[in-house]
Amino acid sequence: MAFDYEKYLRMERMPHMWCPGCGIGIVVKAMLRAIEKMGWSQDDVAVVSGIGCTSRTPGYLDFNTLHTTHGRALAFATGLKLARPDKHVIVISGDGDAAAIGGNHFLHACRRNIDITLIVVNNYIYGMTGGQASPTTPFGMRASTAPYGAVDPAMDICQVAIAAGATYVARGTVAQGLLLERYILNGLKHKGFSVIEAMSDCPVQYGRRNRMSSAVEMIQWIRDHGVPVTRAKELPPEELEGKFVTGELHVAERPEYTEEYRRLIEKAQKAAEGAHG
């Protein structure tokens, strides 16, 4: 049965501004279905973003929504979450937002293992500003600032997340919306910092420059270049060259930041009382 997206949409702001075939909408839908499954009240959820096409998401959603500055969504979200650890904070970022200018906040949110879910819509490009290279633009691919092909190797956002300490890390694609939903759902359920990277298409700014001018072509490319983690383990490295691994890449248990802080408060208050008494 059709999912009731309207419940979560600010219908007066629809249709949204994303280009025809842009994958962001697919990710947002997966996220909304996952939230519905969590059974959370809309009042208890905040959706936070930076700047970029992806980061326009909050404006369409009927939650507590916060559209911050480029790259800084996790910083704002950290304050929000610490102020109300009992509420749910979801951050949605583009690849540039999360991994270029926002790289440092990303690293440290992972390290703290704060109970926030980060969804990165990785479309290999700066969509909003007109197709400049992003840290995930694959080597040799074109962008408006990489007219001769990118000479910087692409960053593997999930690997960095794992190394930095995130405790739930998964990668899905817009070619597989239901799997993506499942990863987001598991991320939301997870206590700790969870990262879901959604490989997505930007036909207008990335596809067009790289001989995939339609969304369908790009989504196909994405489908063809994802290797499920179970299969990836069996493949020799050469065969993974130029591909990306999908699935739940890392799940771990580590103390969660706001809970640790709650414990710290108890400790401090006990010590202070002790000092008085």
Binding site: M17, W18, C19, P20, G127, M128, V204
Partner: protein
């Protein structure tokens, strides 16, 4: 003194801004006039209303935006609505009649051409809307020479599309003639 203010309005992706640049190039590079092309973006991504002003003059252009527009080409209703205000009373409004339906007839001289339809029907490619529009614009206003706009269009056309674009440009001139604006003689050495 020649001083002509034009505005092209459309939505992001239609390419009116490029069309404005080509017209300005025709004026500056090929006709030796002064010109400013000055675009306005209202949204960062596709689908928002955009416009471009082109001011052509035989003296240096001081203010780079149009304030008393002689000619307004509107390829989208939204764009017409937002951007027509600075048109002179009695100025010419040229619209794509399938896309723009509500126009202030009392204030302006309104010309209607099914530009997008023509592009599809006659040339088979929507992208040539701009070339047709340029033909129409120059045909109607005579703001630059036909030869200049032909050279400018040819110089900007992507490889392999020069002929198609010149054909479309010509179609524009024909449409202008149909509307009663005289056709300048064709320059054959254009390419």
């Amino acid at each position: 003194m020649k001083h002509y203010e034009l505005r092209f309005g459309g939505v992001g992706g239609q390419g009116v801004i490029l069309a404005g640049a080509i017209l300005a190039e025709a004026a500056v590079i090929y006709d030796g006039l002064y010109a400013v092309q000055s675009p306005t973006y209202t949204a960062q991504v596709r689908g928002g209303a955009t416009k471009v002003d082109v001011i052509i003059s035989d003296r240096p252009v001081i203010y780079p935006r149009a304030t008393e527009i002689d000619f307004f080409l509107a390829l989208a209703q939204r764009s017409y609505d937002v951007f027509h205000h600075q048109l002179k009373d009695g100025g010419i409004v040229l619209v794509d009649e399938t896309l723009v339906t509500r126009v202030d007839e009392d204030r302006y001289r309104v010309l209607r051409v099914p530009i997008t339809d023509l592009a599809e029907r006659e040339i088979g490619r929507v992208v040539v809307v701009n070339a047709i529009s340029l033909g129409l614009t120059v045909g109607i206003t005579g703001v630059v020479s036909r030869r200049a706009i032909e050279q400018a269009v040819a110089a900007r056309a992507p490889k392999g599309t020069v002929d198609m674009n010149l054909k479309a440009l010509n179609l524009g001139f024909e449409q202008a003639a149909r509307l009663g604006f005289p056709v300048e003689e064709r320059t054959e050495e254009a390419v």
